[in-house]
Symmetry: C2
Subunit: 205 residues, 2 copies
């Protein structure tokens, strides 16, 4: 069964990115390291839980969806020389559907990643991703605004939070405008660095 | 060794109480149940982790500290007919130091709880609680503003959060004005209702 899932690093105070996101600082200023450092050096002693979790996150993912801001620092019409943050071989190895208001031809990268640019809205992107996923899961890759859009619409089945034990004080809040949302905890994986919290959402039938 | 500890229920979006706290709604409106329900019906199947954690929370506590707002809905001069929210036998069974700007004689209740009213500030209260604790731990009972005060001053050793899987959208935020704070996760206890997260703080030597 295909599930729609997302995973995000989040600070204790609910920020998934810092303020002032830009080309130089895609996670914003002041907190890239705080939010992303759990993903690195997972071969070190004591990091086994993080390594296992990280390896498992995408093992059954057939398609990804991301917001324009996660694909590109630019806005408006496309600069077609921009092919994403990830170099010639992005880490997705599957179709990636990018939400945008501006049409662009599909962009095929090395390693099985093809970016498809979807101008029909987030529900259309989900339909297209569902067809492309071939029965595997669909990951809403981010950013927070895109995850929030699927959460608010009741279209997300599962949310995995990597709870970073730090207070950032500013940035983009995942939970804005989601008052009343209730989740069900289904799994917790602790590590000395972050706590991985898996929740099931209640999806309208 | 005496440690200074606190435990708080907190929503996914960082609220430890709702808006509009009052005599009728000491946790504010709209979220008392969301934040406190994990503490009840812990004799039901599947609630063993919550029951054990709740029983262990105070087993080594020798003194408590709380803000005036946690003791009383009133402000200003004391209404001495008010003896707390908890009836004749409060659940503390130990000395409780209440931070206030208004002097009041100690108030001895049934079951070993005596409320001491401290007008000398939060650091004075901690000194007095340390003497009263007899080598056991000191609990900062709340509310969030009082816990935040000790956290900000580097006087809290341990923080236990009961992470409620709900988004409240409004109320009192624990993390306000604590940007830059970093904690170390030391224990995680999961349950189907809430996730209990124990953190160590870094206390200036």
């Amino acid at each position: 069964m295909t599930i729609v899932t997302a995973n995000l690093a989040i600070s204790l105070d609910g920020f998934t990115a810092g303020p002032d996101q830009s080309l130089e600082h895609p996670f914003g200023t002041g907190c890239k390291e705080a939010l992303t450092s759990w993903m690195f050096e997972t071969d070190q002693p004591g990091r086994e839980a993080d390594a296992q979790l990280r390896a498992a996150l995408h093992e059954n993912t057939g398609a990804h969806i991301m917001g324009r801001n996660m694909f590109s620092p630019g806005r408006g019409e496309w600069d077609e020389s921009w092919t994403g943050w990830w170099g010639p071989e992005p880490p997705y190895h599957a179709p990636v559907f990018v939400l945008t208001h501006h049409e662009r031809a599909p962009l095929e990268m090395a390693g099985g990643t093809t970016f498809h640019f979807v101008t029909g809205g987030f529900e259309t992107a989900l339909e297209q991703a569902g067809k492309a996923a071939g029965g595997k899961n669909i990951e809403i890759a981010g950013g927070a605004a895109t995850v929030r859009q699927y959460l608010a619409a009741g279209l997300l089945d599962e949310l995995v939070l990597h709870l970073v034990p730090a207070v950032l004080g500013a940035g983009e809040r995942l939970w804005d405008d989601l008052a009343g949302l209730a989740l069900t905890p289904t799994e917790v994986i602790s590590s000395p660095t972050v706590t991985h919290l898996r929740y099931r959402t209640v999806r309208p039938s």
